[in-house]
């Protein structure tokens, strides 16, 4: 004990302690600076062998986001794809057959269920105030793949998104995210969930064109699948 106390009183020991603290202080500040830089340039090109940290969450049910509001595809002339179906009382009839694979989530607190959560296409006039489709409107459809070809390319953007939101497309999308998306890191690392992924995936992109200024296939150019649109001659 005495030895230790004497040792601590030695000037060089104190110097070492001070020096170490200084080094720790400097490194930690520098590291912090480095971190801010990385934040700013978050999406710089990464090494190709670097695994991309996908953030996509396919299960919407346990997301903490408020689900009283729907997101929709905003841009359309007359059609919209709704992320969430209408809120329903548990006693109201379900909006789709029980034998579909659509996910069902129960919210115990609210005694409400959210059926058939995604993939509604409706006319703009049937949009509710909360941004959701009115599922009771006659023209509202769910998971509609109209105009979509076998290669996963559709001629109408909203139908592409709706089709892409089908639960059975999830493995396809996961495969795409892991392999094909290397050229699209900027975009798809920023995508947060299934809905955003489908909105982004269905848009025309560098994969949609030939000779830069011509569509590969002007008819079916919105693709949720892995392959680019079929190449048609100019």
């Amino acid at each position: 004990m005495m030895v230790l106390r004497r040792l601590l009183r030695k000037r060089w020991v104190l110097g070492v302690v001070f020096g170490l603290s200084l080094i720790y202080f400097l490194t930690s500040t520098l590291k912090q600076e480095e971190r801010t830089i990385r934040d700013r340039t978050l999406l710089e090109v990464r090494d190709s062998d670097h695994r991309i940290p996908w953030k996509v969450r396919f299960n919407l049910g346990n997301s903490s986001r408020q689900i009283t509001q729907c997101r929709n595809s905003i841009q359309g002339k007359t059609l919209l794809t709704d992320e969430l179906g209408e809120k329903r009382n548990r006693y109201s009839p379900p909006c789709c057959d029980d034998n579909t694979t659509a996910p069902r989530y129960w919210s115990m607190l609210m005694f409400r269920c959210f059926y058939c959560l995604t993939g509604y296409v409706c006319e703009r006039k049937d949009l509710l105030v909360n941004g959701c489709c009115n599922v009771n409107a006659p023209s509202t459809r769910q998971y509609i793949c109209k105009s979509c070809l076998a290669n996963g390319c559709c001629s109408i953007y909203e139908y592409c998104v709706s089709c892409c939101l089908q639960p059975d497309k999830q493995p396809l999308l996961e495969r795409f995210l892991n392999r094909a998306a290397e050229g699209f890191q900027n975009l798809f690392t920023a995508v947060e969930d299934h809905f955003e992924l489908c909105l982004a995936k269905c848009r025309t992109s560098s994969q949609s064109v030939q000779h830069e200024n011509t569509y590969r296939n002007p008819q079916a150019k919105y693709c949720y699948g892995e392959s680019p649109p079929e190449l048609l001659p100019v």
Partner: protein
């Protein structure tokens, strides 16, 4: 336009077919011109014993007086080994082949134009054919990598007081003092990047790179400058220092960018929910459907897009895409004395040609000349170009957006409405130069903060008598029997991304103001998406005013509806009034009426239609629309000043009444002809119509030679015609025993005491023996292009005059070159010749200067040389309105029906409207309540009556899409879901929205 393309060079990798290679020799340091020359000669002497033929290409700019680190060397038959020896020299860093490149950051010298680079015509070589297809997106600042080197701005501009900060001139400090600094608004800058720790920026949210260069930094300074104008917080202050900056690097240091990069970057901007996007980059290719579609998608996702209108002024018809789109805010440039900058591109849009008429663009103008902004690493610098004007508006838009409490109200349409309604009109400048006028930030702030969702029109009124603002409409009164005057109005819809026009627009003539003397037909977008659509108004004089002179007035009422966001199934509606005022004169005599054939001129096509002057290598495409109000504007002005009335034929030759016109003018036609057109024209000429043809070159060997590899589309481009489509023209004129040759001639000469320049034209191969033919000695340019040999050909027939033999038959005049009446590359005009030819064709007066010219020769018989044939395998049918693909050769399509306008049924208003003040676009909303209330009181009974009348009428006849948007329907793939709804708008009688600007 010609001036600045060649002011810098760029190195391209793909140059497989060099004819006369020039090389950029880069040195290890800065040396004087003498020293550089010494080094090169010593290096080359050792290369091949001095046998090499070379010289240094002089650079005649102020920078040449200063030490430089490169030299341009012209070497004949350079072998790889000699280049290697050149590189061995201790002071020579590297040798790269030189390519003149067009995708440039454009540089404009000071107000007095410097000697054009092509002033030394004789020494030009043909080496740049293989370079990149020029007309693609360019970065629209003036200046280049050589900004700092040239010092060209040192002429008059620097003697003035130090330029003030543009944000302060536009009174941004007023808004700053109110606490608005752009916070919470996401701005995307699509440009050349931004370096990481630039001291001017405090809120760079992220930087992304979409190019093939692995850097995020700005190597040119262009992107930094643009970002600085928007958001710099110190020194040269930007508009919105607290805005969230998102830097998108889409343009490389080599000034390359591809559509595909843009597509991906735009997708990311949509995902990131960008509010304002600045694009100081543009190109003329509005036929790039993937790009145009993507811009629509972007604005449909509520991104306010601001873009530079282009630096191709003062030529008209030079608007750049995407600034020319209805949903984008297109910005032109002015200087600090409120003059339109010379470089700023002028309207009209050429999308709508030939059947329709162009839209008014730019939308607004603002300072773009000598503006100060952030330097690449630090400090400030000043720069010019519409590249600069665009971020001024983008910065202002960002600042404005941050002042609005309810951000829901801010969308691409409402922002554009506020900007154009508040803009200050510049005196003495027409709408194709200034759009709605000069940006006024404070007034825009006032309007935006009292904004309620509504529709508005651009232009908001049609006054064909208002000069010079309504040029060209004000330059020629209308008369009975003339081609309908089309005004292409843009409908902006701030109520929602999609909308529709309810029922049909109503034409309401003012009886006391002679409104019944005109007929009005309207066609419009079936769906207004995104945020905008067109309303094409065709105006004709009624038969009863055939010999009447005076002013007629009335208005068109349009009601726009959009689905309401917060009311299921509900709609927002907005009614706008378009006042119309025209001047009518009695129908002029036939001899004074000239018809311009627009139908056979191709507007900017996605194919390769080479320029008419082969010397103009920096501008190989013919892209200005060839319209009397674009690149034939000077010719039009001249004809008007000579008292001719010029009308435009936007339909086949079968669609006009030839007995009305003295002369049909066909200039530089690229299109083919329907067989019916050929027969009809022959009949018309027999009956007294005269014909003037200005042809251009067509030589298949030269066409093969001028193919080039396009860096942008990554494919070879082979021309689909020559300067004009001579084989097709020959089909048209062969009935009179006339034909043009495939010769290609060039040179200066004198004709009737006028200096003339023949720039890449053809000759007359065959002409009737009783005709007058003028021949001149010219250089064989074909030989020069193909074999680099110079030869003078004696007695080339270039001009022919012929009186057809039938009784009362018309006259025909042919000339082999159109460059002397075209504004694009004109060196010497020949309007006097056009006058002389019109004297001949319209009044049968043979100019003695031509008929007794000593250059008159015997008409050629065309026996010695075969006539030109169409280039085998050309793809003209892809762009042609006449041809369609067929097994074997393309065949003509069936002749389309002539346009038929359905005139709006009239409802006559007996109220005197003479109390109307001049409609000025001054107060958008300020006067709204007052004027609306007044009109409500005075007119409500009449409006209700009007609506009832309209509702009672049966269906209007089908609409004809005179507006060119029909061409785009196929990719709009619009299907209106609003068919068949009946709506009687009488309940809306009180709903006067914006344009009550009386």
């Amino acid at each position: 336009q010609i001036l600045y393309h060649c002011l810098f060079a760029l190195i391209l990798k793909h140059c497989p077919l060099s004819v006369f290679p020039e090389y950029i020799v880069a040195f290890t340091g800065y040396f004087s011109a003498k020293a550089r020359s010494l080094y090169i000669s010593s290096a080359l002497r050792s290369a091949s014993g001095g046998a090499l033929e070379w010289h240094i290409v002089p650079r005649e700019n102020p920078a040449s007086d200063f030490p430089s680190d490169f030299e341009l060397v012209h070497i004949r038959q350079a072998s790889p080994s000699s280049l290697l020896t050149l590189e061995d020299h201790p002071y020579i860093k590297r040798v790269t082949p030189q390519r003149k490149v067009f995708r440039s950051l454009k540089y404009i010298p000071s107000p007095e134009p410097a000697a054009p680079c092509n002033a030394t015509r004789g020494t030009q070589k043909w080496q740049s054919w293989q370079s990149s297809r020029p007309f693609r997106r360019t970065s629209l600042s003036l200046g280049s990598g050589f900004w700092h080197a040239t010092g060209r701005h040192s002429s008059r501009r620097l003697l003035r007081a130090i330029p003030r900060h543009v944000a302060q001139i536009l009174q941004a400090d007023v808004l700053w003092q109110m606490g608005h600094t752009g916070s919470g608004v996401k701005v995307a800058v699509f440009d050349t990047g931004l370096s990481e720790k630039h001291p001017h920026f405090k809120n760079v949210k992220e930087r992304t790179n979409w190019t093939n260069e692995k850097t995020l930094d700005d190597g040119l300074g262009h992107g930094t400058f643009v970002a600085g104008v928007i958001a710099s917080m110190r020194e040269c202050q930007g508009f919105a220092p607290d805005s969230e900056l998102h830097i998108f690097r889409v343009f490389t240091n080599n000034q390359v960018s591809y559509t595909s990069w843009f597509l991906d970057a735009f997708n990311y901007a949509i995902l990131k929910k960008i509010d304002v996007l600045n694009l100081s980059i543009g190109g003329p290719d509005f036929m790039d459907h993937p790009f145009v579609d993507k811009v629509w998608e972007l604005t449909a996702n509520r991104v306010i897009m601001v873009s530079a209108i282009g630096n191709d002024g003062p030529l008209y018809g030079t608007l750049n895409n995407p600034a020319d789109q209805m949903d984008v805010i297109g910005v032109g440039g002015i200087d600090f004395e409120d003059n339109i900058a010379r470089f700023s591109s002028r309207g009209m849009t050429t999308w709508e040609l030939p059947g329709g008429y162009g839209r008014v663009k730019p939308d607004i103008v603002t300072y773009g000349s000598g503006v100060r902004g952030s330097g690449m690493k630090e400090g400030c610098r000043s720069l010019s170009g519409t590249s600069v004007a665009s971020p001024v508006v983008a910065g202002a838009v960002t600042l404005l957006a941050s002042t609005v409490l309810n951000r829901e109200l801010v969308n691409p349409a409402s922002m554009k409405q506020a900007l154009i309604a508040s803009a200050r009109r510049l005196p003495g400048v027409n709408m194709f130069e200034q759009g709605h006028g000069k940006l006024d930030l404070i007034r825009a702030y006032q309007i935006l903060n009292s904004y309620r969702p509504q529709a508005s029109l651009s232009p908001s009124y049609i006054d064909l008598t208002e000069c010079p603002y309504m040029w060209p409409y004000c330059s020629q009164p209308i008369y009975y029997g003339g081609m309908p005057t089309i005004v292409n109005v843009t409908i902006l819809n701030g109520m929602g991304v999609t909308g529709r026009i309810v029922d049909k627009p109503i034409w309401q003539p003012y009886l006391p103001q002679n409104g019944d003397h005109i007929d009005v037909a309207v066609s419009y977008s079936p769906v207004l998406w995104p945020w905008a659509g067109y309303l094409a108004v065709s105006i004709s004089v009624a038969k009863k005013a055939a010999s009447w002179e005076g002013i007629a007035q009335g208005h068109v009422m349009v009601t726009v509806a959009s689905p309401a966001e917060n009311d299921v199934g509900g709609e927002l509606t907005s009614t706008v009034k378009l006042p119309i005022k025209v001047k009518i004169v009695p129908t002029p005599p036939r001899s004074k009426r000239v018809l311009w054939d627009q139908y056979h001129n191709l507007r900017y096509p996605p194919g390769y239609f080479p320029r008419d002057n082969l010397r103009m290598k920096n501008d190989p495409l013919d892209w200005n629309g060839d319209h009397i109000h674009t690149n034939f504007r000077d010719m039009y002005q001249h004809l008007r000043s000579m008292g001719y009335f010029v009308e435009v034929l936007g339909a086949p030759i079968t669609c006009f009444d030839a007995s009305q016109y003295g002369t049909l003018l066909m200039v530089d036609s690229e299109e083919e002809y329907f067989p019916e057109e050929i027969t009809k024209l022959r009949r018309d000429v027999d009956n007294g119509l005269s014909l003037i043809v200005f042809s251009d070159w067509y030589n298949t060997s030269v066409m093969r030679k001028v193919k080039f590899y396009d860096e942008n589309t990554r494919q070879w481009w082979m021309p689909d015609t020559g300067g004009a489509n001579v084989p097709a023209l020959n089909d048209l004129i062969s009935v009179w025993g006339m034909a043009f040759s495939d010769g290609l001639y060039e040179g200066d000469f004198t004709l009737a005491d006028h200096d003339m320049y023949y720039a890449s034209g053809c000759s007359i191969a065959r002409f009737p023996e009783d005709g007058i033919v003028i021949a001149k000695n010219l250089k064989d340019q074909g030989l020069e292009v193909l074999k680099q040999e110079t030869a003078v050909v004696e007695g080339v027939p270039i001009l022919g005059l012929y009186q057809t033999p039938s009784d009362g038959g018309g006259r025909i005049a042919l000339y082999g070159d159109s460059n002397c009446i075209d504004d694009s590359h004109r060196q010497k005009d020949c309007f006097w010749l056009l006058d002389a030819l019109l004297q001949y064709t319209s009044y049968s007066m043979t100019p003695p200067s031509l008929s007794h010219s000593h250059s008159r020769v015997a008409p050629p018989t065309g026996a010695e040389r075969p006539l030109p044939q169409r280039l085998e395998g050309n793809h003209l049918y892809r762009y042609s309105k006449v041809l369609e693909a067929h097994l074997g050769d393309p065949k003509p399509r069936p002749l389309p029906a002539c346009p038929h306008l359905s005139w709006r049924p009239r409802w006559l208003n007996h109220l005197n409207y003479s109390s109307q003040r001049s409609y000025n676009v001054s107060d958008f909303l300020a006067m709204k309540c007052e004027a609306g209330f007044y009109l409500f009181l005075s007119n409500i009974s009449h409006y209700i009556y009007a609506f009832q009348q309209v509702c009672r009428r049966s269906q209007y006849i089908s609409l004809l899409c005179v507006h060119g948007c029909q061409h785009f329907h196929h990719f709009l793939s619009v299907r209106s879901l609003y068919k068949g709804r009946t709506w009687c708008p009488s309940r809306r009688a009180t709903d006067f929205s914006d344009t009550l600007k009386q």
